[in-house]
Amino acid sequence: MMKDITLGQYFPGNSLLHRIDPRMKLVLTLCFIVLVFLPQNWWGLLTVGLFLLLVIGLSRLPLRLMWRSTKPVLFLVLFTSVLNVLYVHEGVTLWKWGFIHITTGGLQSAAFIAIRIVCLILGSSLLTYTTTPTALTDAIERLLSPLKVIKVNPHELAMMMTIALRFIPTLMEETDKIMSAQKARGADMESGGLVQRVKALIPILIPLFVSSFRRAYDLAMAMECRCYQGGVGRTRMKQLRTALRDWLALLVYLAVGVGIVMLNIYFGKTLK
């Protein structure tokens, strides 16, 4: 059922990772993405992998969550791996049959890319698992605040994100209801060619638009009633304060980065 969709994947907890300032977490996640692309040899990648495992351990999230976020990209992982196996022809040839030409180099780069993708997914999902959507929008708002100089209003951007997050489940539910109602009047959404199917969406889309406008009108009124006047003069209940641990965390990430670069230099480039 559509109702069961949870938006944002926040998993409540109170681990070290949960407590890190969301702004810093956002920065750390970007750092981690860089880390994943730094290694040029297996030692470097091993370091990234171990570091990721350590961070996952610190987050105290159940391991099934890790599986849940990896599952949707498994196909992608498999696909790129197969491509690598087929198209990278380096090192010793293991097997050759027609145009299929499997080499040790191909296998290595396939494994390397697979591990990279999985690390990327897990690393970034850690951010959404340990940060509430509101904290995240908050962090984006504040990290982007320097953009005010070039007339981009980060408050409006964040407000839009918040409202979208708030109303997506409501609209999902609404779509569900309208679909049932039109089905009850014999709307046929399962058969016919492309044109017919697109046409069959009209009885759903129009009511959905109408109701969205009605909601937007109501919401604007409710916000005005609550003295909303844009970002000017607004304060926030939840203050973001970076603590020592946030800066220490950044230091650790940087150290890992430096470590990987040194491994790159020491062991040389064995992988792409």
Partner: protein, 279 residues
């Protein structure tokens, strides 16, 4: 002291190329601080439009509206008025802004630019006042209608208003949700809050200490629930009904039984009938 006051309030609007629509034609109404007033009237009688005037969402085209002696027509008064008069709308889904209950309640005080510690204190207090503290970390879309509406009330309370203005807050709720909201309102009123409740449910109006009935943009009846509901026939012509026990008394009186015309609840009604039997 009058919390809200409308003096010969008129409101009309004109769509392009259409005849002007007159919504309010001379409303005089004063609502005392601390009172609980129910506003009744069929759809299109102008009661929502009146409510929007008390919140400076609409400005009069004639006459005057005063909120705690501040004229709504002065732009400088707009935000002080909106802080003093909190408004709750019909659809609970459409007035919650945030994805987390407590952050939604914080929205109003944040707009007022209060210091964070003060906001925190007000949010906790407001959630406690509507008995929703246990849900402070929840996402609004998972709550029942009655719970959502209580969160909306908390969001308004956190601005420390003197008056709550509710536009059919129970219309979309089930009986359980309606009870929750009404209990909350009655309790807040006992603690000194001025409550103005627009409703279509006569049983809810019976809980107020004053009932104002509107028709065609005017106030046509104004009095205690007993005084107003005793006029069953008049109400029927206005497209309204009376609480069932009142209707029962009216039917009995019509058949010559000497029972008061202004009984509102089953309890009162049963008591009066018992008294008659024992006589």
């Amino acid at each position: 002291m009058d919390m809200l006051r409308a003096i010969d309030l008129r409101f009309d609007y004109t769509y392009e190329n259409e005849a002007p629509q007159v919504v309010l034609q001379g409303v005089d109404l004063a609502i005392e601080k601390g009172s609980f007033v129910a506003v009744l009237g069929h759809n299109g009688c102008g009661k929502s439009t009146l409510a929007k005037h008390f919140n400076a969402l609409l400005l009069p085209t004639g006459g005057q509206v005063l909120v705690a002696d501040m004229d709504t027509a002065h732009e400088d008064n707009t935000y002080p008025i909106r802080r003093l008069v909190g408004m709750v709308l019909q659809n609970p889904d459409n007035q919650l802004v945030s994805t987390i209950v407590e952050e939604d309640v914080a929205f109003g005080p944040e707009n007022l630019g209060l210091p964070p510690a003060e906001i925190r204190a007000r949010v906790d207090e407001a959630l406690a006042a509507v008995d929703m503290t246990a849900y402070k970390d929840h996402s609004p879309h998972r709550l029942s209608g009655g719970q959502k509406q209580r969160v909306a009330i908390a969001g308004v309370l956190a601005m420390h208003p003197d008056c709550l203005l509710l536009d059919e807050p129970t219309a979309m709720l089930d009986p359980q949700g309606r009870r929750e909201v009404l209990d909350t309102l009655c309790r807040l009123n006992r603690e000194g809050m001025t409550v103005v409740l627009i409703t279509h449910y006569m049983e809810e109006a019976a809980l107020a200490d004053r009932v104002v009935v509107m028709d065609e943009g005017r106030v046509v009846l104004d009095g205690t629930p007993r005084q107003v509901f005793a006029q069953g026939e008049r109400l029927a012509t206005l497209g309204l009904d009376v609480p069932q026990p009142t209707a029962l008394c009216a039917a009995l009186r019509q058949r010559g039984v000497d029972i008061p015309a202004d009984l509102l609840t089953p309890e009162e009604c049963a008591e009066a009938i018992l008294a008659l039997i024992q006589k």
